[in-house]
Symmetry: C2
Subunit: 109 residues, 2 copies
């Protein structure tokens, strides 16, 4: 059934380095996750079977798409099919929204 | 394949009354749409088979969930399974992100 997630109720989860996440609304088919970067950070590409959209909310990022670098600024977004190696590098402090289909059940453990 | 959508490249589409939308990144399984309200607006509930998440970006909204009213402020989000009648009423000017699974192909016609 529909489930409201109040922003203030979602705990800040340490991910690595300057990266934290807050898990927002989700259901079996969809999950939204706010990812915050308190500083610049260069990450290492990873992949997962879930399809993903990344929407930049604040700050400047460089998407590493299998070695190709794509600049992204607020409002920019990209659809990444499952299993494509990718990561985002923060060029400034910033914030983005990651959206997954299906839900990242590994994020809920 | 991955497809970057630059925010400035996505046209502003009139929806109704004070509501406009910008279609952000999408693929067959996922679609993101930014919906802007330039003023207060009371809408009429509708439904669709797509699952949906709504994330409030700016402003104050009231989600009408089959007659139940739910207050939503920035950062709040909700998962709506397909076919549940719903709409959002803007209580102030504001902006939200609608996310769909699968893609709203009717938005691309």
């Amino acid at each position: 059934m529909p489930e409201l997630v109040k922003y203030s109720d979602s705990p800040v989860i340490a991910v690595k380095g300057p990266i934290t996440r807050k898990i927002l609304a989700h259901g079996p088919s969809l999950m939204t996750v706010e990812v915050s970067f308190s500083d610049e950070f260069v990450d290492v590409p990873h992949s997962h079977f879930h399809d993903q959209i990344c929407v930049i909310l604040e700050g400047m990022f460089e998407l590493n798409l299998n070695g190709e670098m794509i600049m992204m600024t607020p409002g920019d977004s990209i659809f990444l099919p499952g299993n494509v190696p990718h990561c985002v590098n923060s060029l400034t402090p910033g914030k983005l929204l990651d959206i997954f289909n299906p839900r990242r059940d590994d994020f809920l453990k």
